[in-house]
Amino acid sequence: MKNKQIILLFLCLFIFLISGCWDSNELQKLCIVAGMAIDKGNDNTKNRFRITVQIANPPQVAGDSQGGKMQASRVTNFTETGSTISETLRKISNKAPGELLFPHLQVMVIGEDLAKEGIADIFDVIERDSQFRVLFPILISKGPHSAKDILEVTTTLEAIPSAKIVEALRTSERYWGAYKATRVDEVIKGLKEGSFPISGIQMKGDLKAGNSIKNVEKISPNTIIQLKGTAIFKDRKLKKWLDLNTARGVTWVMDEMKSTVINLDCGMKKDAIAANVNRSKTTTDVKIKNNKPVIYLTVHAEGEILENNCSLDLGKSINLDQLDEKLEEEIKIELLQAIKTAQKEKSDLFRFGEKINTTDKKLWKKIETAWENDIFPKTEIHVNVQAIIRRTGMITKSYR
């Protein structure tokens, strides 16, 4: 009885041993892909895409003393063209020293040209291949430079340029509120449903100077990359760029505002007071009037005074109440701007459609097809903002 058991076990072990290890990889031989840029290729069939992958060079990134005798770049980019994403990525293997490892992809930048033609063909492979995760953000390169160029700018303070872009995006999302990180899963959802926003990224300065380690040796680099604009997509194509306060308005409407700074006027002095909005909640209500949806947006915002460059005594609550109203006004303008642009572009960025569906699913079934192009632009949208400034910092009155 005991022997049989042992034979069984040995059989088990034997099977394991002949099985070998197919999936085993050596870590140092993998190419960790940190960033990816997809541009339009030079023709529409054979070379539809031009893909650049950014591969991290671990010893340089980790600052390990052993490998660092030769000052090498921290990342290496490889570019290849092809008609499908996966084919192109496989072609890159001809250039890269090892198997590409995609799960650690930080960011994907899509060229403006491609975005204008449509981004529908990019995301199937990302959803299908288990190697990709769907949590990295997507950005659109704005302006004359291609997505490839964006990934070629060396950066300081963060070793991998892709990581730097992601960090900037996160910080901006958190403290400025205008440009939000749109994750792949959100983009895919948007592609399925209609309109959606994606933040843009821009290169400033000389391309050649940027693509060199010398760029980071300077205190003030020649070439930098920065977030700029929010791209509105409709029908899987880039329709329009929004900028600054309009872009922030989109964030307000979509209830994604975490914190931002808004300048307020003080009497005659324009933009004299800076208020920090650190808590905000936007609720969307849909009411059906005469078989037409009417949308009510209510913003509850809380904030504090960061800076006061006029003689207003903030110790008095009457003054604060006035500021509250001004803040409300500012926020409302931003929201209305965003909504107006969206309506003009006939794109329901804000997914009001879903809200209508939950309120009245029968009505929604009727208007669903005509919603974006015909009904949404004409829909009444009311904005109501309630802002309260809770604190004034460590002092009340300014020294002025």
Binding site: S130, L135, K189
Partner: protein, 369 residues
């Protein structure tokens, strides 16, 4: 029949894990749209109804496995054939489970390892545990029940904390009315996973306290039903209907969305481990039911001598059952439900109930005379 006994807690653990096996991971019930969690609850109540079909038959033969008393109900020869068909269907479902698992593993983590290796290693481990007998299987289930609960708590906690949940995704409730919910619940969800518990009719004689069957069965059914429903609910709120419909393993996609502090992410291992454990017990119970059925029908000495041959049959069945994963899934939601689950877990048990009642009635009449 082995001379072994398992306790009510062990039976509960086996049943609970059995119900979660594959159902926790694979996509099913998505035909009910945003309300699949509701249709799982309905399916669970269907499972309860099924139990009350099985239970009276079991009460008549509390010390015998299914294959022994099926002959008494249907007559010797027809009963034997039915018993044999049951063994084959158990084996078939075991093979399906192994395939489910193998395909998940090779499409998610072990992409280059051949399916045969995954199946072989998996089935051999099942064989090893079954070789030790039902007692060891029960006790192992008891230990892994805690492990599973722990994994479940960790997984749920992270999903809840990650902030990926949008309740908007499940609204509006009853978008298309009760129709799709009910057609999904009956018969699909009622039979898979809840109707499959019929396999326990083979294991019931091992329970040390016959009285506890009802309590154990129902509590395992309800606990697992609630957990499945909750998981479906969570998946829907995180993924949305669209992704749910398209993804083959929604729970894996859900846990893939967790990202906390840039450090706690990529928790796929939790889901894969959960699947490994639950499918392990599910396939083991089916295999064991098939094996002791064969032992009983062919009057063999013990189950240990045929466990390895049957295991090897299982490996090859699981390999040849379908040429692609799509075919496998199609078969699972169509042919397998129609030709295996419904006849074997609903129609025949119901017939057994009716016939045994009629026999009882005739007996009483003749006794009265």
């Amino acid at each position: 029949m082995e001379k072994a006994k398992i306790s009510a807690i062990q039976l509960f653990a086996l049943m609970f894990i059995f119900d979660l096996g594959t159902a926790l991971i694979v996509s099913y019930g998505v035909t009910a749209g945003k309300d699949d969690w509701l249709s799982i609850l309905l399916g669970m109540s269907g499972g309860i109804i099924l139990f009350f079909i099985y239970y009276p038959v079991y009460r008549k033969y509390p010390d015998l496995p299914l294959t022994s008393y099926i002959g008494e109900i249907f007559g010797k020869y027809i009963g034997w054939i039915f018993g044999f068909l049951y063994c084959i269907s158990f084996l078939y479902i075991a093979a399906r489970n192994v395939r489910d698992f193998g395909d998940l593993l090779s499409s998610s983590t072990l992409t280059e390892t051949p399916l045969l290796v995954i199946h072989t290693s998996f089935v051999l481990v099942i064989c090893y545990v079954l070789y030790q007998g039902i007692e060891v299987l029960g006790r192992t289930a008891e230990i892994f029940l805690f492990v599973l609960i722990l994994l479940g708590i960790i997984g749920n906690f992270f999903v809840l904390v990650s902030g990926d949940i949008t309740f908007q995704q499940i609204r509006p409730p009853l978008e298309h009315g009760w129709g799709p919910i009910i057609t999904t619940a009956f018969p699909t969800i009622t039979t898979f996973p809840f109707g499959e518990m019929f396999a326990f009719m083979m294991l019931m004689p091992y329970l040390n306290k016959t009285k506890l069957v009802k309590k154990t069965w129902l509590s395992a059914l309800i606990c697992s039903g609630l957990i499945l429903s909750w998981t479906a609910f969570l998946n829907m709120t995180v993924l949305g209907l669209d992704v749910m419909e398209r993804s083959t393993f929604p729970t894996l996609a859900t846990i893939g969305k967790v990202s906390l502090f840039d450090f706690i992410e990529r928790l796929d291992a939790i889901v894969v481990l959960t699947l490994l454990l639950t499918v392990f017990f599910k396939a083991a119970i089916f295999l064991y039911s098939a094996v002791i059925g064969i032992v009983d029908l062919f009057k063999l000495k013990n189950h240990q001598q045929i466990i390895l041959p049957v295991g090897i049959i299982l490996i090859f069945t699981s390999m040849t059952i379908a040429s692609s994963f799509s075919e496998h899934l199609e078969e699972g939601f169509d042919a397998s439900i129609k030709f295996v689950h419904i006849p074997f877990f609903i129609i025949i048990p119901f017939l057994m109930l009716v016939i045994s009642f009629i026999r009882n009635y005739i007996k009483k009449r003749s006794n009265a005379k």
